[in-house]
Assembly symmetry: C2
Homo-oligomer: 308 residues x 2
């Protein structure tokens, strides 16, 4: 059974005439006869009763006709669906991002993308950089917002740097203000609120403290971004978060810049190198790049590759 045979069958059923049906499907009459014959042979039953001048469906033909129409319609639907995917009227992007980036850049950028392509579903995968890289390589993600350097550098991934972002210290507005700008060394012995494992911010902060010669004292650790900000707000300790996140966190938080050289992270967009991302993913990539440029000019972020 083949699609063409079904199409020929439907054409004959509609025209009730082999020669005219052959014209309708743009093949010669013998070709059509042969294919109808092949279909009948395969199914083991005649589909038409060939009376002179009166081609009629047999019972087998009448049973097959609605199914044939439905199969052909489904095949047509399949072609159109895939076409619409290519035209970005439908589709799906699987975007991975580290938790801290989900809070900062993404909300506005995704709103923008959704406005441009309302038919495209956005599947956000929030996870640590290590997981994101693995999922990218496995084809489980189309794009990922990651923090450089990648925990497990892979030549199979292409990264495009978006911006550099300063980290700042946050503390409760009603607690004694720390010195400003705050040096990393000033954090020694001060109660701190620390993210859970998997956050690149956790690794960055711990590494900076250890480089300064001490192990930080954490009153609470293990929270997500919102929880950490809440604990800081409650006066449980000092947190180290991206400036962009701190700016959105509200008036109950005191934001204290870090003394030079400070802490800084490079945010990049990553995708697999070996295959081109789907159309919708490329479109999202463009939107994210534009959002990053916008953020650099309006939100005081540093352009990618800028010095300390």
């Amino acid at each position: 059974m083949q699609f063409q045979q079904l199409a020929y069958f439907v054409a004959v059923a509609d025209a009730r005439h082999f020669t005219r049906a052959a014209e309708a499907v743009h093949v010669s009459q013998p070709s059509l006869s042969q294919q109808i014959g092949a279909l009948e042979k395969e199914l083991g039953a005649p589909l038409f009763s060939r009376a002179r001048g009166n081609i009629a469906l047999t019972d087998a033909g009448e049973a097959l006709l609605p199914l044939a129409r439905r199969i052909l319609a489904d095949a047509d639907t399949a072609r159109h669906e895939v076409l619409e995917l290519a035209q970005l009227r439908r589709g799906r992007v699987r975007l991975g991002a580290t938790p801290s980036l989900c809070t900062g850049l993404l909300p506005d950028a995704l709103r923008d993308f959704h406005g441009r392509h309302p038919g495209v579903r956005l599947l956000l995968d929030e996870g640590g950089s290590h997981d994101l890289v693995r999922r990218l390589a496995r084809g489980a993600l189309d794009l990922a917002l990651v923090v450089l350097p990648l925990p497990s550098p892979s030549p199979a991934l292409t990264t495009v740097e978006l911006f550099q972002e300063d980290l700042v210290a946050v503390s409760a507005a009603d607690a004694p203000a720390p010195r400003s700008p705050l040096r990393i060394a000033d954090l020694e012995g001060r109660p701190m609120v620390m993210f859970r494992h998997g956050y690149d911010l956790r690794d960055l902060t711990l590494a900076a403290c250890r480089a300064a010669g001490f192990e930080p004292y954490c009153t609470v650790e293990g929270g997500e971004m919102d929880a950490v900000l809440g604990f800081v707000r409650a006066g449980l300790g000092i947190g180290v978060v991206p400036a962009m996140v701190a700016a959105r966190a509200g008036a109950e938080l005191r934001v204290t810049p870090l003394a030079r050289p400070g802490l800084r992270r490079t945010v990049a967009l990553a995708h697999r190198s070996d295959v081109a991302p789907p159309r919708a993913a490329r479109a999202l990539q463009e939107v994210l790049l534009a959002a990053a440029r916008q953020a650099v000019t309006s939100s005081g972020l540093r352009p990618p590759g800028a010095g300390p």
Copy 2:
């Protein structure tokens, strides 16, 4: 797009592995890869993201998968439906019959057939012999119960004689009884009830009267079988009907045999010679032949080919 390509696609989507999918569909791995590639090229979008050890569906692949499954299931359904037709678990027989035969032989025979093959629809086409023959030749009927000789003999039709049936005169039970047995000549000048055009009984009766040298006097003409019996019952005249019909007509009718040679008609089963009837039609044919044999022995009909 081809059924095999869709089957291969579903196999890969299920196995998430090209080599194992190839084994599952019993082709070599390169053949499967090539067909998937051809499908992707035709649809204009990749269906799988080929990551080492992790074959995943793209958005286009996820859009296609449910449709592919449905198409394949429909194709399977089509094959089974046609198979069931061949096995007489479903099907359709289009049976034509002259009106007088619908009343006599058919009810019991069709009940028997329906009991044996409850899934087979019976489409009865009641009409004159001329129409029936034309519809048979056109393929609009599978079988027809006709009265011989055929009005327009056609070499394209095969007929099997079922039985010969005597005609009898019927009159109202409360009217004066005609002589018994009744000669055709006795009908001259007697009020008669005549069938409408198209009934073979009408032609038979008129021809017999004319052969006897008179034109019958009809008080009512144009009715169907039930109407004619009703008119006779009401005393409007004498009717000439098959013995089998008269026997079923109830006690309000007086049945008078016709004097020798009497009137007799040969009932036959006809079908097209050039193509074998569908399976269900052959089954009905057998049932009708058995019913005819049964009627010959139990109802006093004459076997086919019997002399006058």
